[in-house]
Amino acid sequence: MDAATITSWMREIDASVRAERDHLVQLDAAIGDGDHGTNMTRGFAAVVQALDTDPGSPPGKLLILAGRTLVSTVGGASGPLWGSALRSGGRVLGDQEVFDGGQLVEVLAAALASVKDLGTAAVGDKTMVDALEPAVEKLRARLADGVPLGPALEDAAAAAEAGMRSTIPIQARKGRASYLGERSVGHQDPGATSTALVIRALQKAVVQQNS
């Protein structure tokens, strides 16, 4: 994998959050303030634009640029969280031109650590962590078992989606949804939902590049 992987990952995210924009807005309206779809769409549109202006950079630098762009265009909770996540992930790759599956796991693990550090959320708090953490763990485990990257990413995306659904029955303890107390139960977390889209986009980008 290389810079092109990152670029097509970001393009896939852009396309899928745009396609799911209204759905994310709806989910956020139910237990938040109804802007998550707009936030993610605004942010990743800016990321795609920013990457276009920086064609020659190595993959780590592109991730850092993507993260910086999110921080400076999204706002809200998701801007700093995803922004720091991509910046931390990018730093793992340094100036390398290519990276392998094992390094991809470290990128995602650094992203997860950064989200948890900044937001102090754990699995079960009904946040994006509920989708991101199982995805990272599943990818790490499958690769350790010798599963090839493609199927391993498919399992990671499925794990993120399962994590996303796992937010439905629980009560939020972080983010705006926590203000609702028990009324947050029964609703799927918007940030976990877009996180599942982000991991699914990664899987698609990698499959595409290898086909």
């Binding site: 938040g32 303030d33 802007d35 707009t38 921080v71 983010g175 203000y179």
Partner: protein, 340 residues
Amino acid sequence: MAVETNQMRKFLNDPARVVKESLAGLAAAHGDLLRYDVAKQIIVRKDAPKKGKVALISGGGSGHEPLHGGFVGLGMLDAACPGEVFTSPVPEQMLAATKAVDGGAGVVHIVKNYTGDVLNFKMAAEDAADEGIKVTSVVIDDDVAVQDSLYTAGRRGVGATVLAEKIAGAAAESGADLAKVTDIVKRVNDRSRSFGVALSSCVPPASGKAIFDLPEGQVELGIGIHGEPGRRRAPLGSATEVVDVIVEAVLSDLKPKRGSKVLAFVNGMGGTPLLELYLLYGEVDKKLRAAGMEPVRNLVGSYITSLEMAGASLTVLELDEELTKYWDAPVHTAALRWGV
């Protein structure tokens, strides 16, 4: 008029530009007080930076007007950072505002306790420190509807924000140093509690849809300022009954001393007429007196809002002499003005 019609019950051109166009209007109306830096999307006091004066900035999502841009001016904020509607601004705005107002004596960031605001302000404060500016941050979290806990996001920042900006702004104007001004913001927050109720939701321009539906005859109890539903829904009682619930929620948490002098702030959420706000104030005033408080200062109006939401909130601040003195000090902003 246009063939393509605007399908929202709003005056706007393009939902993506509503904040910018509103800020341009604010600046056009109040050019004597403030300027709008379009590129950086910040509202800055006309005469900033003021050498030697501690500066105050605040910010957050838009849709809460007059908060915060309407509070930029003499004796209150030095700058405001408006985000998109109900979306925290980004660290670049806060950094730009911090740099624009720093007069060498330091800058206080007044941050409402929402994950987005807290995280973005945190990044900006780190960047400002890197550039050698002394910055302190105070997080406002006065909303008693939300149970406080180590394991949750904690309480929201609501009405106390307005009071803290006014009172600490006066302290800064009078020459207090960074530690002192920071302490005043904290003190106002510590001694304030708020509780809000809604009779309708509101429609963010970007989505064009109400955040929730509330049938007539129902009330959302324990709402914040982002058009979100409250902690629970109940049949709407009389104004007296609603005020009973609100005052009880505030006082049982604030636990003011008997005989305390308080400031009672009855705030409209944007769509509630003054006729009703004063009716509520009358009930609040009676109830506070019955509970042994003395409401020696008050503020009645729509100062921290959720677009056109129908609803109201009460903030009670237990005053002391110093806070009272700074409340009374001159202020000249678009939305609050006295003594000048």
